[in-house]
Symmetry: C2
Subunit: 144 residues, 2 copies
Amino acid sequence: MARTVDLVGDRWSLLIVRDAMDGAATFTEFRDRLGIARNILTDRLRRLVEHGILAQEPAPSGRRQTYVLTEAGEDLFTTVVALRQWGERHAFGAGEEHSVLVDERGAAVPELRAVDGAGRPLGTRTTYVRKVSRSTGPRAGTAG
Amino acid sequence: MARTVDLVGDRWSLLIVRDAMDGAATFTEFRDRLGIARNILTDRLRRLVEHGILAQEPAPSGRRQTYVLTEAGEDLFTTVVALRQWGERHAFGAGEEHSVLVDERGAAVPELRAVDGAGRPLGTRTTYVRKVSRSTGPRAGTAG
């Protein structure tokens, strides 16, 4: 997880990814949505491109660059949904209105939940991190 | 989602939450795991307590404070799993070893996936954000 937060774990990078998922593509579109300083936006877009989360493409008109999510960037969808749903549960007061993520039929996206192979909910008390030692060499079953 | 990243969307806060889920509780434990400067750790712990993600409790010995996840903090489990799983898919080279999140039987936690009410996978192209206007007044069905 540390590597993920190194790549996207700052406020602006996550918000840029969210807005790209929501249709923003040009520098101006990101700037207008985020109200972010030009130099910070320039830096974060450059880093997201370097890290393979966004790719630069010429706009159809050919006059501007656009930023599109790579496959790895699109794959942050689950993380963005998890962050959004946590916020809906904990970061708004009772009765306070907020936007909702919906599917193509307009139904709210069900809450994400980590489950085991049998569908049972998992949490911090029912999971643990299995460290992989650098000194164990090739894993069993791994050719070469 | 912006509110969530305001609360936990910096590198250290997310790593502190992860380590709390993994059993860290005292200042020294967080510092040793993260290799973080004392003043930054002090600041981030204070903010996580202010934001209701960690709570301070005296250690059983009574001599030290410990930091425990609140219910809202525990509920970041899904987000932490999403970040970890994205990292496993995109932030490691082929064959590069990394730790694995497993359940009590030692089986790897299945990949989180946003699905609609019928279990169909959802993504950025099949979802959209429904904005809630501030000017719509009380919602239908909401007394008062």
